[in-house]
């Protein structure tokens, strides 16, 4: 009997977990954390553009996941294309042949964009391309998954939006990133309002030791005090395990 109705389940159930941007950084750490919390018969879908990095990750998880009877699939796609989201949904449907008791979608894939003066953003195609990856793809993938795995009483549905303090705070030269994060936060808030049977969490992971942070340092000269991805990923897992957050809430790493 599934324990999804227990206030503090120690696992994330027998689930299908989809992590985008899984090849590096926070997504990579999430894959490791999640794999320990999914029960036998679960499926972990790792989505990113790099086939080789995804396969490497799968290898890292292999010994543990075999033992755990966790199926790991790599989907190398560009989510900013319609084919990318579509294929991810197709694979998810194909893999989930047995009844799952949890669908966990972690919308993590994202990019920094140009860090540049507002007045420099005159190229419509560039801005569109940025918003397509960072905003549209998250909505399209989420919608596709919700349709593929319709809500039903014994199915726990969790959606994570990997957010940022910059969804709330305006930072000079960061117009693309701030705009996209603010857009996503609202988008997932609307989803939370519309879908009472889905738990939606916007999680701001804090400054982590990732390539994105290296880019930030290189482009802005700012050196932040960085945390290991694993530490932030573990905090997100705690939030999901406790499952006490109100749907639609925005939680920051520093408050967990």
């Amino acid at each position: 009997m599934s324990d999804i109705h227990s206030k503090n389940p120690r696992t994330l159930g027998r689930g299908i977990c989809i992590i985008t941007g899984a090849s590096k950084g926070f997504g990579h750490a999430l894959a490791h954390e999640v794999s320990h919390l999914l029960k036998a018969g679960s499926i972990l879908l790792l989505v990113a553009r790099s086939e080789s990095l995804l396969q490497e990750l799968k290898q890292e998880l292999q010994s543990f996941t075999e033992e755990q009877q966790l199926v790991v699939r790599c989907i190398a796609v560009d989510l900013s294309t319609r084919e990318g989201a579509h294929e991810t949904v197709m694979v998810a449907k194909q893999e989930a042949v047995n009844e799952m008791d949890h669908v966990l979608l972690i919308n993590n894939a994202g990019s920094l964009g140009d860090i540049s003066q507002f007045a420099s953003f005159t190229d419509l195609d560039k801005v569109n391309s940025y918003l397509s990856l960072n905003v549209s793809s998250a909505l399209v993938l989420t919608a596709g998954m919700l349709q593929a795995f319709p809500c039903r009483p014994d199915l726990r549905w969790s959606i994570v939006n990997v957010s940022s303090v910059f969804a709330l705070q305006a930072l000079p030269s960061w117009v693309l990133y701030c705009t996209a994060k603010a857009a996503r936060k609202m988008m997932f808030n609307v989803l939370a309002e519309e879908e009472p049977n889905v738990k939606v969490l916007s999680y701001s992971p804090g400054p982590m030791d990732t390539e994105m942070q290296k880019d930030i340092q290189r482009l802005t000269g700012t050196k932040n005090n960085l945390f290991p991805c694993q530490e932030s990923a573990a905090k997100l897992m705690k939030l999901l395990l406790d499952n006490e957050f109100p749907s639609g809430t925005h939680v920051d790493f520093f408050t967990v």
Partner: protein, 267 residues
């Protein structure tokens, strides 16, 4: 009336998008009354006919007769050429004796409000919506700021027509809320970056326009749809004029905090 409230908006180049109907059209008319002779209005929309009729109306007005120049730019802002054509038209009509650049980012669309977030599986639809409602206002604003850089004696004001939907989620309105939240943050970043620029996120309130007609007849969420149609039935919609007058007051007083969200009902 504040002693520091100006009587007019100066000799201005004023660019208004979505000027063919609704709030944009009213803004063009109200602006024309507050800018000094020698000013220019650049009116942007897709409908050539509607723009021309507005242009004719303005030509016949007191302001028109006193020397207001009105230029129409028929453009689809969601295409690369759209913002570009607005900027080149603006440069054409600019003269060195103008002392105020005003950009009113008003053009917007509701998106399909009959549907819920989980129905948006079409990437092209979402991309297209964001292109028109978010990207185009960023690119247009950036291009105008580049074309008319900061210099002594030149005031620059950027207005974003926002909404309560930028702050609060509404069922079946995912695209509109997302677009408005995105724009609001965008203009907040601009305000942080450019302290010499005046940036106003103005929320005009529930207006009696074609957009409201769609809202009250097509909104998918039944209780939200009822809220909109009750507003209409009970005469609680604002006229564009009533809201626009408040916007003009804000601009004349010029005391708003740059980047702040100001709602018509705050005044």
């Amino acid at each position: 009336m504040s002693s520091s409230e100006r009587a007019d908006l100066g000799r201005a180049l004023c660019v208004i998008t979505g000027a063919s109907r609704g709030f944009g059209r009213t803004t063009a008319i109200e602006m024309s009354r507050l800018v000094k002779p020698g000013s220019v209005l650049v009116l942007v929309a897709r409908s050539a006919d509607d723009l021309r009729s507005l242009q004719a109306e303005l030509a016949e007005s007191e302001a028109g007769k006193a020397g207001l120049l009105v230029k129409c730019v028929v453009a689809d802002l969601a295409q690369m050429e759209g913002p570009e054509s607005v900027v080149s038209a603006s440069k054409e009509v600019f003269s060195e004796d103008l002392d105020h650049i005003i950009l009113v980012n008003n053009a917007a669309s509701l998106g399909d409000v009959s549907r819920f977030a989980k129905s948006f599986t079409n990437m092209a639809e979402v991309d297209s919506y964001l292109s028109f409602n978010v990207s185009s206002s960023l690119c247009l604003t950036a291009s105008i700021l580049q074309a008319f850089p900061q210099r002594p004696g030149l005031r620059r004001t950027v207005i974003n027509v926002t909404s309560l939907c930028a702050l609060k989620p509404f069922c079946s309105w995912v695209l509109y809320c997302t677009g408005k939240a995105a724009r609001e943050m965008m203009f907040r970043v601009l305000a942080e970056e450019e302290p010499d620029l005046r940036v106003l996120n103005y929320s005009p309130g529930p207006l009696d326009t074609d957009m409201q007609l769609v809202a009250r007849s097509r909104t998918g969420d039944p209780s939200l749809r009822k809220t909109f149609s009750d507003m209409f039935a009970e005469g609680r919609l604002l006229t564009c004029e009533a809201s626009c007058v408040k916007l003009m007051k804000l601009l004349l007083e010029d005391t708003y905090t740059s980047g702040a969200h100001v709602d018509v009902f705050d005044l």
